[in-house]
Symmetry: C2
């Protein structure tokens, strides 16, 4: 059916070895031979059989991405960044998403074994033991947004700490003397870093102000509950910083219902800059994360690890975030 290297060889009256060399850019082929082979291959629409090539080269030219059940925009931005970088390098992208728990992730990771040259892993529940059990040692991997501290694995993180620190400072600078914080899930690495950023900024820039943390879990409902709690008794803080945008949106609803107006009575800020952030009323001040860049960088790191297996890794830089000022903090 399909045209193989033998068809090209026959047509060009050379051996399959020469076709292989010519098409793979080896030097030891006459220019004339190479040209003849190249044009015949093109005319025949020859495409090397990837499985046959993989079998002998031990390379699949494919990167696997293991992703959890992700909220819309984050997921597509991440894939976009990974995909763009992969294409630029001629790599393919095998995706496995929507993993709710560790078992599903383990099964998916194993299923990819042998089909990929490297892995990108974003999964809140992945730790060193999980990786040792499910990832072949020889497979380079980059973990995204992971608390993992083992030098054995490469980790690439968003600068959650810096972003939260900068936002807290922004709110204080804007004249809001007290800033409360709505935290995320306790076991979530991003959430922990953001809370730390808040706490340390408060200590640094408003040492006399009270640090107030209300618990949330990243859901809109938990933000709503936090907002109700904060509004109770009419003694809300001057500003509220939620550890993510969805909670900020929930909190905004609670404030509005309680008759508090944002930003006049209380300023409000979130984290992530999800698309919704600019469409709520008032538009939400937040911290923007360059998610596509995260994906792009991760792909680059794993590609380099594949090319140079024994190379000493450079320490992974965290990805900078930026404060986006909108109306909810009195910005405009």
């Amino acid at each position: 059916m399909a045209v193989t290297i033998r068809d090209v060889a026959r047509e060009a009256r050379v051996s399959v070895a020469s076709v292989s060399r010519a098409l793979n850019g080896h030097t030891s082929v006459t220019d004339e031979t190479r040209q003849r082979i190249t044009s015949i291959a093109a005319r025949l629409r020859y495409v090397p059989h990837s499985a046959a090539r993989s079998l002998i080269t031990k390379r699949t030219q494919t990167i696997g991405a293991l992703l959890p059940d992700l909220y819309g925009e984050f997921f597509s931005e991440l894939i976009r960044g990974i995909d763009l970088a992969a294409r630029a390098r001629g790599l393919h992208l095998l995706v496995s998403s929507s993993h709710g728990d560790t078992d599903e992730a383990a099964t998916a990771l194993r299923a990819m074994q042998g089909r990929v040259d490297g892995m990108l892993i974003l999964s809140p529940h992945v730790d060193a033991a999980f990786l040792r059990a499910n990832l072949p040692e020889s497979t380079p991997a980059v973990l995204l947004n992971s608390a993992l501290k083992s030098p054995q694995f490469d980790v690439l993180n968003i600068d959650n700490y810096g972003g939260a620190h900068a936002m807290t400072r922004h709110l204080l600078d804007a004249g809001h003397t007290s800033v409360a914080f709505i935290s995320g899930p306790e076991d979530n690495f991003d959430a922990q870093q953001r809370e730390r950023g808040y706490r340390e900024a408060m200590t640094a820039f408003a040492p006399k102000a009270a640090v107030k943390v209300v618990k949330g879990d990243f859901s809109e409902d938990s933000g709503y509950a936090a907002g109700r709690a904060l509004a109770k008794g009419g003694k809300s803080p001057r500003a509220v910083f939620a550890a993510n945008d969805m909670m900020a949106v929930g909190c905004l609803r609670a404030f509005t219902e309680a008759g508090l107006s944002v930003p006049q009575d209380v300023a409000l800020a979130g984290f992530d800059d999800i698309p919704i952030a600019r469409y709520v009323t008032p538009a939400l001040t937040t911290v923007r994360v360059r998610i596509a860049d995260l994906g792009r960088n991760a792909l680059e790191r794993v590609a380099i690890a594949i090319e140079k297996p024994n190379q000493q890794r450079r320490a992974a830089p965290t990805l900078a975030c930026e404060v986006v000022v909108r109306a909810s903090s009195g910005g405009h």
Copy 2:
């Protein structure tokens, strides 16, 4: 390095043929032999080499997805549906996204040749000629949201017509005697079907009312411009139906600026039910599309086409949409 079928065979004191048969569930193996082989394979953590298997079986157990530059939620929902269905069938998913034009899509489609058993294609610019030039005849493919009418290709569409028809009827039923429409890009299939749904519903249910169409291009800005045009002179229609949510959001902003209040002065509706729709003020009445189902169904169709290549296809059903009533049409 890695453990191969020969290692398992040696350990089990059988031929590699028996290992292959035992592990692939062929009947011609003693239960006792199969058990021994299975347990040894498990102990050795044997995973069949996928490239070797592909080389001989001519199957990759992989489906390719070719996607354009997509807006956040749609993309992730689609992938979610595809991924879930693929996993249920033990298929892998190779993704190539963010294709701006036909050339990029062609390159990506070609690059997948030989790496996938079937394709899912969502791309506004793909037509029959493109497919004949870039897709091997032997590769089953399902096109999503495509205007393609060739019986040669399998197409799966959202019921844009039905959704728009139902929404128009809803607005008329709610007592809004005149309904204007903001259209999408002229060359966009979804947009065309939605406009047709609007027009035919108007003819059917409000034959005396004027059909009014303002041009848009699916962007928020074009919705804003359309909103300004409609508000001009204070003689806006009683209801406006935008061909997608982003335009409805833009239109809402224009109305608010013009001092028109929604839904009291004018009702407003969109299409897609993007996440933003419920967070604007007032929340947007819209048409919901089950995007994950679209992905799931598409995967099922291509999987069946792979399993039974010569089977007569059943006609593809269009995927039903549903009207979601919120405050912008006076719903609550």
